[in-house]
C-alpha cells in the first residue's frame, strides 16, 4: 500500500501549483481553475487522512467541498462573464478599481 506521505506530497504539490497559478496567471478563468486545483489538493489530503484512519469523515468533507466548489465555479464564471462584458478583458489587473 502506498504510504500516506506520498499522498500528502502529491497534495502539497497540487496545492502549490494551484497557488502559483492564482498568483501568476493573467487570465481570470485560469485563476478560477487554479483555485479548483487547490481545492482538490485539499480534498486529496482529506481523503488520504480518512483512508489511513479508517473513517469516512474525510470523504464526507470532500463532498461538501466539491458542492461548494461547484457553486463557487457557477458564481465565479457568472462574474467573469459580467466583467468581460464591461472591459472586453479577462486580465485581473484590469479590474483594480471598485467602480468605473
Amino acid at each position: 500500500m502506498v504510504p500516506l506521505g506520498y499522498y500528502l506530497l502529491l497534495s502539497a504539490i497540487l496545492f502549490a501549483t494551484g497557488t502559483l497559478g492564482v498568483f501568476l496567471r493573467r487570465n481570470v478563468i485560469t485563476v478560477l481553475l487554479s483555485i479548483e486545483v487547490m481545492l482538490n489538493a485539499v480534498n486529496l489530503a482529506f481523503i488520504s487522512f480518512g483512508r489511513f484512519q479508517g473513517s469516512v469523515d474525510g470523504q464526507v468533507i470532500m463532498f461538501f467541498v466539491v458542492t461548494v466548489a461547484a457553486a463557487e465555479a457557477a458564481v465565479g464564471l457568472a462574474l467573469v462573464i459580467a466583467l468581460f462584458r464591461h472591459r472586453e478583458s479577462l486580465n485581473p489587473d484590469a479590474f483594480t478599481s471598485l467602480k468605473w
Binding site: 497557488t19 492564482v22 498568483f23 485563476v31 485581473p92 489587473d93 479590474f95 483594480t96 471598485l98
Partner: protein, 684 residues
Amino acid sequence: MLLLIPLLPFLGFLVNAATGRRLAKSQSGAVACLAMFGAFLASGWAVWGLLRLRPDSRDLVQVVVPWIESGPLSLPFALRLDPLSAVMILVVTGIGFLIHVYSTAYMHDERASEYARYFSYLNLFAAFMLVLVLGASFPVMFVGWEGVGLCSYLLIGFWFTKKSASDAGKKAFIVNRVGDFGFLLGMFLVWSHFGSLDFREVARLAGQAPPEAGFGIVSLAALLLFVGATGKSAQIPLYVWLPDAMEGPTPVSALIHAATMVTAGVFMIGRTAVLFGHAPATLAVVAAIGVATALMAGTIGLVQNDIKRVLAYSTVSQLGLMFVAMGVGAFAAGIFHLYTHAFFKALLFLGSGAVIHALAGEQDIRRMGGLRRDLPVTYWTFLVGALAISGVPLLSGFFSKDEILWRAFSSGHTLVWGVAVVASLLTAIYMFRLVFLTFHGERRSASHDLAVAGHGQTGGGGHGPASEGGHDAPPAMAIVLVLLAVGSVVAGYIGVPAVLGGSNRIEQFLAPSFAAPGIEASGDHGANRAEARGEMAPGSEPTGEGGLAPTGEGGHSAELGLMAFSSGIALAGIGIAAYFFLRRRGAADAVAARFAWLHRLLLNKYYVDEIYDAAIVQPITRTSERALWKAVDAGVIDGAVNGAGALINGAAATLRRLQTGSMRAYALSIFVGVVVILGYFVWR
C-alpha cells in the same frame, strides 16, 4: 410690603422693555415716572411705619422667598428696612423720581423706541438700586450691586453708536469688575469667619469681639469689601471710570454717577459699620484713600474744561470726603453727606444738563459764558447747588461737610482733617470757576446759538419748549431744578449739630444701624450710642460727644471755631474763583503758564489713565495677542487640532498604497497571512 418698593420700578422696566416700541413717548415716560412715584410713595409709607416704632426696634425684615439652601448656608431673599436703608430708599426714589421727570424733557429728541429703552434702563436701575439698599444680607445686596453696575454700563453706552460712549461703558464695567471681585472675596471671608451672611447677624458676631489689634481676618474682610467700595464709589485706585462715564446722558450722570449708585460703596461701609468698626487698620486705610481721592480729584477738577467732567471729579472728591467720614468712624456723618450730596450734585448735573440742552450739546466751558441772562432758572438753581456743595453756611452741604470735618478733627485725625480742608477749598474754587466761566462774563463762542437747535432737528415742533423758542429749561426740567434747589437748601436741617442748637436728628435716627445688635438692645439710647461710637473710632478718646450728648464747653467752642473756619474756607474758595475767573481772567492763564508742568499734569489727570494703560491694559493686550492668541490658541490648540488631521492624512496616504485593487496582491497577502499564522501554531 417692602417688596413693592423695588418691584414697582421693575414692573415699569418690564412694561417699557416689552412694549416700549409701540408706546408713544408720553406713554413710556409716564409709565416710568409713575413707577418711580409709586415706589416713592411706598417708600414713604414704609418709612413712616418705621418711624412710629421705638428707635431700638426699627428693623423690619421681609423674607421674600427662600433663595439659597445649601448645607449650612440657608439664605432667604430678604429685604430689610432700618434707619439706614430708610434714608437710602427715600433718596433713591425721591431724587430718582425727579430725575425721571427731568429726563422726559431732556431725552425728548430721541426716537420713541430709544426713549422707551432709556426709561426701561432707568427703571431697571432704580429697581436694582433699591434691592441694593434694602438687601438684608451680603448676597442680596450683591444682586443689586451687580444690577446697578449693569444698568450703569447700559446707560453710559446709551448712545452706543458713538465709540467713546461704548468704550466708556466698557471701561466702567471692567473697572467695576475689579472691585466686585474684592467684594466677593470679602463676602467669602465673612462667611468663612462668621458663618453668616446676614448683615445683622454678622454685626452681632463681629460686635462680640473687641476691635482687632493688628491686621487680622476681620480687617482683611473689611479691606476686601472696601476694594469693592472703591470700584463702585470711584475711589483711588479704581476711580478712573467715573469721569469717562459722563459720556452717558446727563440725567443718567445725575442719577447714577452722582446721587445714587456711586454712593453704594459708602452705603455698604455703613451697612457693615460694626465690621469696619472692629477693623481699625482698615478704617485707617479707608480714611487715607478717601482723603487722597478727595484731594486728587479736587486738583484735577480745577483745570478740566468739560462741564460734566468737572462735576464728575467733584463727585469723586465728595465721595472721598464721605469715605473720610467712614474712615474716622463717623458713619452717620458720611451717610448724612451722602444724602445732602445727592440733592446738590443731582441739581448741579441737571443744571449742567439744562445748559448742554440749551447749547445743543456744547459741553466745553471755554465756549460758554454769559449764560446768566439767557438761562435764569438754570443759573439760579445751579448757583444754589454750587453754594451748597462749597459749604457756604446754612445750606445743606455746610452741615454735612462740616460734620465730617469736625469728626475727623475731633477724633484726632488732624492730618486727614487738614487735607480734607484743602479739598473743601478746592471744591469751592472749581465749583465757582464753573459758575463764573459758564454763566458770567461774555459769550466766548458765537458758533453755538442759543437756538434750540436740538429740538428743531427732530421736528419736535409741537412740544412746548421748542415752539416757544424759550432758551431756558423747559417746564419739566425747570420744576425739577427748582425742587432740587429747595432740597439743597433745606436738606441739611435734619442734621443741624447740637452746637448750633439743633439735635442732629439724622445721626440719632441712623445710630441703631451702625451699632451691634446686642449692644443696641440694651436700652438707654444715648449711652449705647456713645459706646458704639467709642468702638467705631478706636483712635479717638471717648469724649462722649457723639454729636448728641452736649460736649463740654471746650469742645463746643472748638467745634464752633472749626465751623467758622470751614465757612471761611468756603468763602475764600469762592473769592479766589471770583478773582481768577471773574475779575481777572488773565491771572488764571498767567498762573497756568507759570506752572505749566503742573497745569499739564492736572489737565492730563496725573496721567493715571496712561499709567494704567501702560501698566495693565497694554500688557494684557500684548499677552493676549502674542502669548495667548498667537502662541497658545493658534499654536498649541489649533496645532493640536490641525496636527490630528494631518496625522490621519499622512497615515492614510501611506496606508492607501495597500489598497491596490489588484486581486492577486490580495490573494498573496491572504496566503502569506495564513502561512504566518499556521507557522506560528505549528512551530510554537
